[in-house]
């Protein structure tokens, strides 16, 4: 990279890192490496934060995050986590409507699955080696 660009990016650095060519180059290059990584981390970190916010919102209505998302996904609601978390923060009534929709859908689903209740013959599944094996109707 051009040394002028390096010094432009090194503005405000500590000590000689903002004035000396070789030091400035080292610091700026390390900074840009972090920048590269952080652009990828940003996507993960934000997603994690959105999930935490949605979880906090849904627990106020007696649902946990995973059940809420299971309800929404199986009712084919494709609003993403960014918007859901924004709604949880700024639009309490719309968010409540979403939890109502999720609960409604969950009441039609078998236990912790995406399988509709009516597709299952034995509603109390046998547990074999810790794995539930619901019997499905033949279609």
């Amino acid at each position: 990279m051009n040394i002028d660009k390096i010094f432009k990016l090194a503005k405000g650095y500590f000590g000689r890192s903002k004035n000396c060519k070789s030091l400035a180059r080292e610091r700026v290059e390390k900074g840009l490496e972090y920048n590269y990584v952080s652009r990828r981390l940003k996507k993960r970190d934000f997603r994690a934060q959105w999930i935490q916010r949605i979880n906090a919102g849904t627990r106020q209505h007696g649902l946990n995050y995973s059940d809420f998302m299971r309800g929404l996904i199986s009712s084919d609601c494709q609003i993403n986590r960014k918007i859901l978390s924004e709604l949880a923060v700024t639009e309490p009534f719309s968010f409540k409507a979403l939890t109502v929709q999720a609960k409604d859908q969950l009441s039609k689903l078998h236990f912790k699955t995406y399988i509709p209740k009516e597709d299952i013959i034995n509603p109390t599944p046998q547990v074999k080696a810790g794995i539930e094996t619901p019997t499905l109707k033949q279609k």
Binding site: S75, L87, E91, A97
Partner: protein, 168 residues
């Protein structure tokens, strides 16, 4: 500079907080997926109210909508400026109708789309076809004498949101 113009977008207070909720459930399950749904409809030189009359829509006051534009979702109200990825088929000054609406909240009801609330649409105007912030891509492997610098400037489209409308 750019951020100042849009800062009101993030700092706006919601005027829609005090309202009761009702959920409108769609009984039929639609098979449309977001990927196959069409691109935003382009409308040339038609006034909002003229469009509403022609296609029998009514504007909904005091509402917000969640719209899907260019692969991303945005929560919008009337008068918002949103910066989306470049929409290639539109030009500055054009009037478009965003037809992928996922959720609409008004003062006394919320409509949740499965996945789209198809009776709702949102007017929008193309304010600017610009670029967003430049990204410097610097790759470096230590002790291997490997350094690569390239840059990337994403193209952007700025939309001004108009009325949120409902099919009569």
């Amino acid at each position: 500079m750019m951020m100042n113009r849009f800062s009101n977008l993030f700092m706006r207070s919601s005027s829609l907080m005090n309202r009761s909720y009702t959920t409108t459930h769609k009984s039929s399950t639609t098979t449309t997926t977001m990927a196959t749904a069409s691109a935003p409809t382009t409308v040339k030189l038609i006034d909002e109210s003229e469009y509403n009359q022609k296609h029998s829509f009514t504007a909904i006051e005091n509402s917000f909508a969640v719209v899907h534009v260019g692969g991303k979702q945005y929560k919008v109200i009337k008068g918002d400026l949103i910066m989306t990825d470049r929409l290639p088929t539109v030009e500055v000054g054009e009037h478009i109708v965003l037809d992928k609406v996922l959720l609409v909240g008004t003062q006394d009801s919320t409509t949740i789309g499965t996945p789209l609330a198809e009776e709702y649409k949102v007017h929008a105007y193309i304010e600017e076809q610009s670029k967003s912030q430049h990204v410097t891509i610097f790759k470096h492997k230590r002790r291997k004498n490997y350094k690569r610098t390239t840059g990337f400037t994403p193209l952007a489209t700025t939309l001004r949101i108009g009325e949120i409308i409902k099919k009569n």
